[in-house]
Symmetry: D2
Subunit: 288 residues, 4 copies
Amino acid sequence: MSDAHAVLRVVCHDRPGLVADVAGLLFRLGVNVVHADQHRDAELNTFFQRLEFTVGRDAASGPGRRQFTDEVGRACEGWKMQWKLRFRDEQQRVAILVSKRGHCALDLLQRHRAGELGCEVPFVVSNHPDLGEEVTRRGYRFVCEPMAVGGKAAQEARILDLLAREKIDLVVLARYMQILSPSFVEAWPEKIINIHHSFLPAFAGAEPYRQAYNRGVKLIGATSHYVTKDLDEGPIIAQDVDDVSHREAVSDLERKGRDLERVVLAHALRCHLEDRVIAYGKKTVVFD
Amino acid sequence: MSDAHAVLRVVCHDRPGLVADVAGLLFRLGVNVVHADQHRDAELNTFFQRLEFTVGRDAASGPGRRQFTDEVGRACEGWKMQWKLRFRDEQQRVAILVSKRGHCALDLLQRHRAGELGCEVPFVVSNHPDLGEEVTRRGYRFVCEPMAVGGKAAQEARILDLLAREKIDLVVLARYMQILSPSFVEAWPEKIINIHHSFLPAFAGAEPYRQAYNRGVKLIGATSHYVTKDLDEGPIIAQDVDDVSHREAVSDLERKGRDLERVVLAHALRCHLEDRVIAYGKKTVVFD
Amino acid sequence: MSDAHAVLRVVCHDRPGLVADVAGLLFRLGVNVVHADQHRDAELNTFFQRLEFTVGRDAASGPGRRQFTDEVGRACEGWKMQWKLRFRDEQQRVAILVSKRGHCALDLLQRHRAGELGCEVPFVVSNHPDLGEEVTRRGYRFVCEPMAVGGKAAQEARILDLLAREKIDLVVLARYMQILSPSFVEAWPEKIINIHHSFLPAFAGAEPYRQAYNRGVKLIGATSHYVTKDLDEGPIIAQDVDDVSHREAVSDLERKGRDLERVVLAHALRCHLEDRVIAYGKKTVVFD
Amino acid sequence: MSDAHAVLRVVCHDRPGLVADVAGLLFRLGVNVVHADQHRDAELNTFFQRLEFTVGRDAASGPGRRQFTDEVGRACEGWKMQWKLRFRDEQQRVAILVSKRGHCALDLLQRHRAGELGCEVPFVVSNHPDLGEEVTRRGYRFVCEPMAVGGKAAQEARILDLLAREKIDLVVLARYMQILSPSFVEAWPEKIINIHHSFLPAFAGAEPYRQAYNRGVKLIGATSHYVTKDLDEGPIIAQDVDDVSHREAVSDLERKGRDLERVVLAHALRCHLEDRVIAYGKKTVVFD
């Protein structure tokens, strides 16, 4: 039995002595902090901290781990902190949702296969059958849940059921072209990551590359964000842009955009999986 | 008397043989093409071309130049082209308008002084006196035209009068924080360049850095565009962005933004002065 | 039988009238120029031009195409131009060479499958068996040519033989970790594209990410270039960089670098396949 | 008498409990930590930390400040840490050295005037008289120390003397085109910041833009670094790049490069002045 690696994130109202309090707690618990980062939103007077540490073999598993977690939780709650503690060996289970365009979903599978993402990917769900062959030939399970069978409410119910049965921790919308219902979104707070194919808040809504072309912008972008009830308004995790010129047709913007979308979504997903993101209001802290 | 350098830009409905027609004309007129670039908007079926060339001493000045211009004009009109011919030695006269924040205006003066911009800058106008000392100590004329004296209409009339008297070719709004009236804008079509301190169309309107901060974007931008009656909707000439993180306050965004604004405005101005920009509808062709 | 799309590239010593000559020739041949771009290396007095056009049904195929090509060739040679004419429907055949790291090769296959590259990819060759399963499950042929069988000279001979039999037009080294012999390289001038995992000329040679880490640079890069006898010295087609910080270990640089390598190599390959690149000396013209 | 703002930086061999030790010390001393960041070089097993905090009025000035500093120092030395404590109100005095090209030096003056740099700039020194008028008309002192008077050793001695008399804390080489002697450099360890006009380690030495042009790179860069005895080998603080194409002559690279140099040098200087940089070996930690 060896050491375990864990990440603790805390959020609370700021006050003097917080850093010393948390550092002292972890020291008393015998952990070795390998990385610590913090942030203070001066306008809201809110304190955010992320601590990455190793715990010795006693606390690394079984009852020791439960006891360790209890002690951390008791202290944090005493300090009126919101807290999340995750051990790295508890890999998150990620469901990928996609429609017809596979570039993001297949890219995530390739990164997963290459060991770039520390998570499990038990299946890919789509409302269309088109990507079935590409997904299964890569060795992943493909689930087709078409809208036509019983309408949108029934389709979402089947997907929610699948997510529950498969003990999914996170949903990634890898160009899933359906708007999730508010009840779906509310059931998965800060647990649905979307890639929008524009530099939000510019060109929210449908066909952003066409909008960008018509407006004549000189840069196009992609934005990965948590999904909330307000479409394209969720907290942004990552964004990037690329140059375009008058020479480029809508199809060129789409092609360039695919590279942006792939990289931005994969980056946002990695940040989430490494517990680097804390969403608050419409914003995020993304520790690097 | 030596050779002269000129740029011809043409726009017309596309048809076969256009490139050969124009190339043949210039060859017959004895010019040496040093650079040619063209573009076709496939959706509008419109053809755009920019030709940079040298003309021999006969056509380089005086009556020869007028005759050369006439022949080019006659041919282009015969082909139903819009055309503009400009000789490089006819430097454009540029008026800089600014309010209180001098970073863009002073940067343009520094570039002008260093010979980076091929134009004349006879004066800087402001609706506030604040930058007078900084401008004049650099050796430039400063004109203060406050709103308070007679109201906005009177102030604009005084500025328009000044532009006319000084034979100004182009107006640069280098963080001029007043909205020009529609009649001012219409009198100067494609002859007013603005710098907007956001990545348009995101965060149009007032206080874009505050808007960007509140939205939690991960990149901020700057946009230089021609001014039209529709605020922040004019054809975009240049844009750029820079990364921001949760650590950065509004004041940090403003500071980073100043560097973006300076570089984007100077780039757009250079493109205009080198006759590289053709605006059409809400878009531009920017030949590189 | 419909129209055909073609690209003509010419290089020659610069002289007045060149643009008109070429434009006139194409007009007489009845083509419709859809894009033209040119460049002049002022230091070498060399002229480069790329013309993209459609030819009518008479010249689009069979004897008409041969006759068209002959006429273009005759004219260009009369003008002492180097010239290359390629019809778009004659897809190039591209061989991908790879060693153990598949990120670039698999990415190219995914782009090929998605129709992003206008070429044929008859096979992937590797000096190791590792990627065989990944390549074949995507429906592509995998050829393993290990060094161990007969040594390097024999291995290269087998690959050269394969390239000849399969009528390959272009070789892409997608992280092929062997140095090709000078005789191999000379047999494929400007027909081998490599991706080097650094911002050349910085960190040429082995383990560039380790070199970059040790030097403490704040940006890492990737460079795609034609392969010449001088290692890492061939004409550069495309480069890009990404930020890195003190937080990132060599393995992080490698991960970020994989994204750079994929995008830069794909971009360089597309430019080559669209006949946008003209190499001369150690440099390239890359028309956009 | 109000609170004071201070930054403590520590470097030491890594060991468990370090974070708790430092946090506990600062808590006992009654400071309020407003920002903390840390880094661990895993290969060297070295720990780096930067803490930004406010101290109450007792410790903010006079004997209280000295006593506070002593207590911090005693604790850090007990823990075998290298440490530096600086109060923000003790502005650093910065000397700008320049030769003939003023774009970086004048840009720093403009930023200083705008309040962007929290430092004093008592003078600008040059080995040429050319920039005297531009500097003095902006209201700064200009000192000309030509090489011709007594040779290089004498010139450096005069500059060193000036730096000492003026109690200078930091020297900025803003395109100072002379190589400082090893004895000068050794007298100012990690206190001389240079801007090199290339993406180091590419194109070290003279005329980097010409080198970049000749090599045909597709990006040019600028690098700001501490000066050490090994030319262009000092620890890098900041780098950035911009695209270039075959169209751009050496003079275009120089013009684009000037914008890069300005921004990169100003950024590096700000990082230094805010005590964000810790150099070690050939590398730096730059806390953001």
